[in-house]
């Protein structure tokens, strides 16, 4: 009888709703004052109970307001989304309380007690993060050891790239083709020349001095550019009817996919020079680029193969019946459809490529993460690892998250109903 009366139902909503709300509000008030005002409302309770008290209180409160079909739209929505059962109510409270508890120290460290002004480690007097570190090293983190006076070259190379890509979006369809050809086949040489110099009155900058975030972009851009066509060729090779080509493709793909990138980079660094005639020297950066390109091309090939396999046989037969040869069939009919099918896979491979670039530390090249490793071991800036890696993580996260979002949009835009 008593239990029946305690069960929240619609006809007793006027008692249960205020009562439950009071419980919940009190629970949150307790946690909030505890965290932000440093005042413990429930301090009179024994310590062990004190800790769990808001959880218990909130739990009872949520139980009381769990009234089905109450007619109150807000309450119904609340119950459906975060308070549908006892277990859910418990988890909801737990997560909210953890967020409240965590947000204050996190905010303090990140912003409120952090140091933004100054030029040396001694200026970091607060308890929070020392963003001065990032500020002072920012130039190095972006450009590596590239000479300060020459950094306009890196900037202009990237600006030129962005400008060309931007213009390519707006020019009419007719000229677009030439723009893309220019971007793919001419721009890389201009970019490389601009960065390395040595002629046209530009001072020569050796690749060992390249670094920072710009190197991440350079490596990603070149590897993406080259791994895509190689991957497509490997995928076609793997589906070829000619056994020699098929088995070579399979062997090549499985070899790269079976080993970690770091061993491939080791190979490029120490084993590859042994295979060249004595005295020949290939630049470290180029060796690394070749290694990353071949490695990612193998993954790309598998993604493209997925698309090729997903196409119905009729597409091949139709193309052949029109009298198309192998290359015309693949370029005009098969690949456009197959590639469209696997856009998410391609995007994931490119994402993995960008995430793999920090591994070039193996051969002594330093992009963003490597530069932070260098900066944090500087005797004047010891103990700045946390700030450095949080910053690098944030930068990479923004890049990768933007890429994955863009690929999702592209996928939606290009999807055609079959």
């Amino acid at each position: 009888m008593i239990l029946n009366n305690l069960k929240p139902t619609k006809d007793k909503i006027n008692t249960f709703l205020p009562l439950g709300s009071i419980f919940v509000i009190f629970a949150f008030l307790d946690v909030l004052t505890n965290t932000f005002l440093n005042y413990n409302i429930t301090g009179f309770l024994p310590q062990t109970l004190n800790y769990f008290f808001p959880l218990l209180l909130g739990y009872i409160g949520l139980y009381l307001i769990r009234i089905e079909f109450s007619g109150n739209r807000f309450l119904d929505k609340l119950n459906k989304n975060i308070n549908s059962s006892n277990f859910n109510a418990f988890l909801t409270l737990l997560i909210l309380f953890i967020i409240i508890k965590a947000i204050s120290p996190l905010m303090n460290w990140l912003i409120l007690e952090a140091n933004f002004v100054g030029s040396s480690k001694d200026d970091c007097t607060g308890n929070g993060a020392c963003w001065v570190f990032i500020k002072v090293w920012f130039n190095r983190l972006m450009y590596g050891l590239y000479p300060d006076v020459e950094q306009w070259r890196v900037n202009s190379a990237f600006l030129l790239l962005f400008a060309l890509v931007g213009i390519a979006f707006f020019v009419p369809q007719k000229i677009k083709k030439y723009f893309i050809i220019f971007l793919l086949f001419v721009y890389p040489f201009i970019g490389i020349k601009l960065l390395s110099g040595g002629s046209f009155g530009l001072v020569y900058v050796e690749t060992a001095a390249w670094g920072g975030l710009s190197l991440t972009f350079i490596i990603s851009a070149f590897a993406i550019l080259f791994c895509f066509p190689i991957g497509v060729f490997l995928a076609l090779g793997r589906r070829s009817s000619l056994p020699a080509i098929r088995y070579i493709s399979i062997g090549f793909i499985e070899l790269w996919r079976g080993v970690p990138l770091i061993t491939v980079l080791f190979m490029a660094a120490v084993m590859f020079p042994m295979f060249l005639p004595d005295g020949t020297f290939i630049d470290k950066l180029i060796r690394v680029l070749i290694a990353i390109t071949l490695f990612e091309a193998a993954y790309m090939a598998e993604v493209v193969r997925g698309g090729l396999q997903a196409l119905p046989k009729g597409q091949y037969e139709a193309a052949k019946s029109l009298g198309m040869g192998y290359w015309r069939m693949n370029v005009l009919i098969i690949l456009p459809q197959a590639l469209k099918l696997v856009i998410p896979g391609i995007a994931n491979t490119l994402l993995a490529l960008v995430k793999d670039t920090p591994l070039i530390f193996v051969v002594g090249l330093m992009e963003l993460a490597g530069m932070i490793g260098l900066a944090k071991t500087n005797p004047k800036w010891l103990g700045m690892a946390m700030e450095g890696y949080v910053f690098a993580g944030l930068v990479f996260w923004i890049i990768c998250y933007a890429m994955s979002r863009y690929s999702q949009n592209l996928e939606k835009k290009l999807s055609t109903e079959r």
Partner: protein
């Protein structure tokens, strides 16, 4: 005209030419590389061969599962590295699976907050390069731990410090007998399950298999403790003062921070992918399946166990095995924080000492390659076995 006709119509020749050209190109590249390698090695006074594996290694390894010091051979050093790789992979796989399943299920929760939290976990940890996460844990988070004298104390049994995590050491007597008893328990559980299945299919009797299995799993090893002289005691870590300011822990087992950082980063990163697999798997089971199961009167637990899970697992397992493989390969990033795995011990230290780049890199790559290939063969066999058999 005649020539063109000939080359196009004769399919055999047309097929042969590109194949022969490819093989020829590949062979010439290989021969070119091999001759260069031979000349280069000759110049340096080394000849190709694997004899160096039995030479004395004369370097120490910070953490090893088997006995090792400088007097052992390079071959033994390789084994130490391989075992360390396997150790961190197993720990990583175990943690990643638990975390991944929890996050994956949480993403499907009808609780808005939980689903959102899980989603953000995936978005955050998937989009940060693994190497940065390893660096973060190793150089930033674990360096914030206290020194041994102020260690974080877990009930006086285990201590977490900046130098590592000290846990009690298991001291077994007659460990082999205990292992045999465990094997015996698993064998009897296997036969019990077969028997139970037969009973269910032929006579419609349902045995409480789970309770019985649990009983066997506990009782047989317990019997080995009581009757066969197996015993287990613990060696607890104790604080010891080395000098005025330096302390360390004695006895017990020390888990080095490199291992902790690597295992944490690997499992948190891989868990995001496993979570996505789990989500895709559960969502891949049609709604109609659940409704049909409910309409024949199965309860919620039965629906999950008998209808949803068997179908979802078929979708989940293949990509998840792939993730396990990725995790194992990613464990080679250990080289960045000096966890002595195969790459660090063998492809870095041993290579630097011997200068035998070709042999050492080939052995390392072949080890990973054979691991990958054997797992993919296993996977193909599994897929064939699990494929829906249509009549």
């Amino acid at each position: 005209m005649n020539l063109k006709k000939l080359s196009i119509e004769n399919k055999k020749i047309r097929d042969l030419i590109p194949q022969a050209l490819t093989i020829l190109a590949l062979l010439s590249v290989i021969i070119y590389f091999a001759t260069n390698a031979q000349i280069n090695m000759g110049n340096r006074g080394i000849s190709f061969g694997f004899g160096f594996l039995s030479q004395e290694a004369s370097f120490d390894i910070a953490f090893s599962l088997i006995e090792f010091d400088g007097s052992y051979s390079y071959g033994r050093a390789f084994l130490v590295g391989l075992l360390n790789t396997i150790l961190v992979s197993i720990i990583g796989i175990f943690l990643a699976t638990i975390l991944g399943v929890i996050v994956g299920v949480a993403r499907l929760s009808n609780n808005y907050l939980i689903a959102k939290t899980a989603e953000w976990y995936v978005e955050i940890f998937r989009n940060i390069p693994l190497i940065l996460q390893i660096f973060f844990w190793y150089f930033a988070a674990l360096r914030a731990l206290p020194s041994p004298e102020n260690a974080i104390n877990f009930y006086d049994v285990s201590y977490l410090t900046i130098k590592g995590w000290y846990i009690p050491k298991f001291v077994w007597i007659n460990f082999d007998i205990f292992c045999y008893s465990l094997i015996l328990a698993f064998i009897s559980i296997y036969f019990l399950n077969r028997y139970a299945k037969k009973q269910r299919e032929e006579f419609g009797k349902i045995l409480p298999t789970f309770t019985l299995s649990l009983g066997i799993l506990i009782s047989i090893p317990l019997l080995s403790f009581l009757l066969l002289g197996v015993s287990l005691s613990f060696d607890y870590p104790e604080l010891k003062q080395l000098s005025e300011t330096s302390y360390t822990y004695e006895n017990g087992v020390s888990i080095i921070p490199e291992l902790i950082a690597l295992a944490l980063a690997l499992s948190m990163y891989t868990a995001t992918f496993i979570a996505e697999n789990v989500r895709a798997g559960v969502m891949g089971v049609g709604k109609g399946q659940k409704e049909a199961a409910a309409s024949i009167g199965l309860n919620k637990g039965q629906i999950l166990k008998l209808v949803v899970m068997p179908q979802a697992l078929r979708i989940i397992i293949p990509p998840t095995t792939n993730q396990y493989l990725n995790l194992t390969k990613n464990s080679s990033l250990a080289a960045a924080i000096a966890y002595p795995d195969m790459v660090l011990v063998f492809a870095k230290t041993a290579l630097m000492q011997t200068g035998r780049a070709i042999e050492i890199i080939s052995i390392t790559m072949l080890t990973y390659l054979s691991l990958s290939i054997s797992i993919s063969i296993l996977m193909n066999w599994y897929n064939k076995k699990m494929a829906i058999k249509e009549k």
